[in-house]
């Protein structure tokens, strides 16, 4: 269980505000999906791998005599796809964003079971320009937050799938190889025999490289003339995306192996990394909505992860608005009512005001106003170490305004 204390909450809200503003400027609309969803939403699509599904919090609902189970939302994207199917017209373009918590069981009890993420999804965008859009939007948020050195890493799930298909494996073998690859283990593919010479040279020559521009992909194109149509079209799509990013001056590296994680990606996928830490990621998932029973709606999106971002966020302790303490010197009816009315006046004028009546600490405030009785106040400017005696609320306001 994780409490979020005031200082962390300020940081969380700040990130959410920056994210929200950027999304809105790009024409995205905020939505919220429920914390409880039906389990079959995540199992029937076959989009969460069994290793993830084993870690969901699932239980019987109050009307669960049918065996229907509900879960605490384990993923942000799948509920958005459901929301789209349920609420939007066929093939309509929708740009949506959300701030949500997701849940996963963690056996040791030491890790967090609830994590927050900031996500945006572009539903109905078929062109490579939609991929470019979500990458740039994510990058803009990261830049606005001032997270420092954050690297963008690109891969392409469609390209990797087409590459594996070049080996002519059975359906089951292919699934097994893809599972290994998603878990970061490429040795199984590298050790596999019987592929065309260009596949061999791609695996030995290019796989471990980090491409710095679309030229890297052009080089792959040059050696893969004998590739399948699927591979070629995936490669062309990847080239279109990276060329646009080149022109727009967006730095990235291409790491074909960086497709770990979600099974639902079908096209470009990307990660934002600060050192080893992933601060966000996303990609294209054209099969998800049809798999869930919707129509053929292509889509892509990303999520930024709250925990690593809050760690990286530049933040000065105690950086908040200038506070006023209004302190009543006794608990008489007169003093209490004058204190409350003075506080209200100052709040209406835009100041953050706390009230105190007993022995309270006087640190952490810019101004400190003592309320004695009718028409008698003293104001202390803590920054300038000056004290002033005044006789009316108006004079107090004037003194504070300087």
């Amino acid at each position: 269980m994780q409490d979020v204390l005031p200082e962390d909450m300020l940081r969380f809200r700040h990130v959410a505000d920056v994210f929200r503003e950027s999304c809105q400027r790009w024409g995205y609309h905020e939505v919220r999906t429920p914390t409880l969803e039906y389990l079959h939403l995540f199992t029937s699509t076959g989009t969460l791998a069994p290793s993830m599904l084993r870690r969901v919090y699932s239980f019987l609902d109050w009307d669960g005599w049918s065996g229907e189970r509900v879960v605490l939302k384990p993923d942000g994207t799948i509920p958005i796809a459901r929301l789209y199917i349920d609420n939007f017209r066929d093939r309509e373009v929708a740009r949506l964003f959300y701030v949500t918590n997701i849940f996963a069981f963690e056996g040791t009890g030491r890790e967090k079971r609830e994590r927050w993420q900031y996500g945006a999804e572009f539903l109905g965008g078929a062109q490579f320009t939609s991929d470019v859009e979500v990458v740039l939007l994510a990058r803009e948020v990261i830049y606005q937050l001032g997270l420092g050195e954050v690297e963008l890493k690109l891969s392409h799930a469609g390209l990797v799938k087409a590459l594996v298909r070049e080996f002519g494996l059975s359906f089951e073998e292919e699934a097994k190889v893809l599972n290994c690859i998603r878990e970061g283990d490429w040795s199984i593919l590298k050790n596999m025999k019987g592929s065309a010479p260009w596949v061999d040279s791609l695996l030995t020559g290019f796989l471990d490289l980090q491409g710095g521009s679309s030229n890297f992909l052009q080089n792959i194109k040059a050696i893969s003339r004998d590739a399948s149509a699927d591979f070629k079209s995936a490669l062309d799509n990847f080239i279109s995306i990276t060329s646009s990013l080149d022109i727009l001056g967006c730095d990235y590296s291409i790491d074909i192996k960086a497709i770990s994680g979600f099974e639902y990606y079908t096209g470009v996928c990307f990660h934002f990394l600060s050192g080893e830490n992933r601060v966000g990621g996303g990609g294209r998932y054209d099969d998800l909505i049809p798999l869930m029973g919707g129509s053929e709606v292509p889509a892509c999106g990303f999520a930024l992860y709250a925990d690593p971002i809050m760690e990286l966020l530049p933040w000065k302790e105690g950086e908040s608005a200038e506070k006023v303490l209004v302190k009543g010197k006794d608990l008489s009816e007169e003093t209490v009512s004058r204190s409350f009315s003075l506080a209200r006046l100052l709040r209406d004028a835009g100041y953050m005001v706390e009230l105190g009546f007993d022995e309270c600490k006087e640190a952490g405030y810019r101004w400190f106003v003592s309320v004695f009785d009718v028409d008698s106040f003293s104001i202390m400017d803590c920054e300038r170490q000056q004290t002033l005696q005044v006789n009316s609320e108006e004079e107090i306001l004037a003194a504070i305004r300087g």
């Binding site: 079959h40 199992t43 029937s44 699509t45 076959g46 069994p50 599904l53 084993r54 699932s58 109050w62 009307d63 669960g64 005599w65 049918s66 065996g67 229907e68 189970r69 056996g107 040791t108 009890g109 359906f171 089951e172 292919e174 699934a175 097994k176 599972n179 099974e263 798999l291």
Partner: protein, 476 residues
């Protein structure tokens, strides 16, 4: 002191005699551990600091994981059932003991014409019945069955497919057994061997070397658990062929009880003038036939009936009021209701505590628990939802529920402080030195029905006929 007692949890039932032989061969005989015993607490004939208690096999992994016992012996199926859902349990599987029988499999009705799990299409919703709900869920996820519902049952899983479930995850000894029930195995998940399990902390810090020394001579290598070692692809969307059965043609479906309630239920039905071939005359068929061509009948566990009536698998069932109330406290808006009291199988659902405890009523118990004398109080019950409600309503807090699968009285006083269970005469409680401090209610057999079914005119007509038969011999 240096004299720590070592506690062993031993199985009843299918592994009792083979476990007794195994212990004897290992030089660890417990006197009185045999099929005839009615004792639960046993002492070692060899080591004076070694004691054992006899449990339902299903309870053993939980008891060892909780640390109530250092060692346990039970089938791999019950270990997996716990660990697949709670991988962080403080339970260590020490060794395979080399004996056991049967295996856990996924089976479907023969009539579907499938032979392998890979033949199951995606895009369908599967109803999976099992005594092992956690294993069933894990299996469904691993095999990527897509949409599925787990129907947990206390027993008789084999009678559900194909009408009331598509798949069953069950233990079986021989293939013929499945075949007899019209099932075909689609995948054998793992053979059920007896295993030695130990509590993690006990292994880490307690001197168990003498006992382990005796047992270890007979350890054998562990096998694989089938689905964990394979990767399964996402399934293509297609649909499973539907099979029409006689069952679907029946207008009204009735569930009859097995076990203790079988005989009195059969006698009662005879009196009412309803006869069921394979049930009435003490027959043990799971699918008795009725002379009424509109009535479909299956024999299942009374504990499972309210849920099965609620989900529409059955319209009517003969069960106990205790199980109906247990169901309704979990699902208050369930459509199951009592239609008739049948009078037989009368029991009291009681709250019992050790005769040595200084309490005679629930108020004294509350004072004791709230005063921190026994807090949290451990409450053993087969009726977890009723027990939960009772404890909440009476503000007996803090408490911990220990769910059991029968013979709950054996848990007191070592492994639980309070018992909420049924009793017929009170003699068993007496024998375990327990006293009753409160009675929740009196329960006897009843006919339950699904409100929604009764609202369907063509079903209502038949159900009314059924009820009239009971009314005519005086049941109201």
């Amino acid at each position: 002191m240096g004299y720590q007692s070592i506690r062993f949890a031993l199985p009843k039932g299918r592994f009792l005699s083979s476990t007794a032989q195994f212990l004897e061969k290992s030089g660890l005989t417990f006197s009185g551990y045999d099929a005839k015993t009615r004792r639960y607490c046993l002492e070692s004939s060899v080591f004076s600091n070694l004691v054992a208690k006899v449990f339902q096999e299903k309870d053993i992994p939980v008891q060892v994981a909780m640390g109530n016992y250092d060692f346990g012996i039970c089938g791999l199926d019950w270990i997996e059932e716990l660990q697949t859902r709670y991988p962080a349990s403080a339970l260590i599987s020490v060794a395979n003991l080399g004996y056991g029988n049967g295996s856990i499999c996924v089976a479907a009705s023969k009539r579907l014409g499938l032979s392998r799990i890979d033949d199951l299409p995606g895009g369908c919703s599967y109803r999976i019945v099992s005594e092992y709900p956690n294993l069933a869920e894990s299996m469904a996820l691993a095999f990527r069955l897509g949409e599925f519902r787990i129907i947990p049952v206390w027993g008789a899983a084999e009678v559900y497919p194909p009408e009331n479930a598509d798949l069953a995850v069950l233990w079986h000894e021989e293939q013929e057994e499945l075949s007899f029930h019209g099932l075909t195995p689609l995948a054998e998940l793992f053979p059920v061997m007896a295993c030695l399990i130990a509590n993690k902390e006990s292994l880490e810090s307690k001197d168990l070397s003498q006992i382990l020394g005796c047992l270890s001579q007979q350890f054998v290598a562990r096998g694989d658990i089938f689905w964990v070692t394979r990767d399964f692809p996402r399934r293509d969307r297609s649909t499973i062929g539907s099979i029409s059965t006689d069952w679907q043609m029946k207008k009204v479906k009735l569930a009859l009880p097995d076990g203790h309630q079988h005989k009195p239920a059969a006698q009662l039905l005879e009196r009412v003038g309803l006869s069921f071939h394979g049930y009435s005359t003490g027959g043990a068929s799971r699918r008795p036939r009725s002379d009424l061509d509109w009535l479909g009948v299956k024999v299942i566990r009374p504990q499972d009936m309210p849920l099965q009536v609620a989900n529409g698998n059955f319209d009517l069932a003969i069960t106990g009021e205790d199980w109906l109330k247990e169901h309704l406290s979990r699902f208050p808006s369930s459509p199951v209701e009592k239609l008739l009291g049948l009078g037989f199988g009368g029991v009291r659902i009681v709250v019992a505590i050790s005769q040595d405890a200084p309490v005679d009523n629930v108020d004294a118990l509350r004072t004791l628990v709230q005063g921190g004398k026994i807090a949290p109080i451990r409450v053993a019950s087969e009726y977890v939802n009723l027990a939960d409600k009772y404890l909440r309503d009476n503000r007996i807090t803090p408490y911990k529920l220990v769910p059991t699968w029968g013979a709950s009285e054996a848990f007191l006083p070592d492994d639980a402080d309070l018992l909420i269970d049924n009793t017929e005469t009170g003699k068993t409680l007496e024998r375990h030195r327990l006293k009753v401090i409160d009675v929740l209610f009196h329960s006897s057999a009843c006919l339950v029905g699904n409100k929604d079914s009764i609202a369907i005119p063509e079903k209502k007509e038949k159900i009314d006929f059924f009820l009239t038969s009971f009314h005519s011999v005086g049941f109201q």
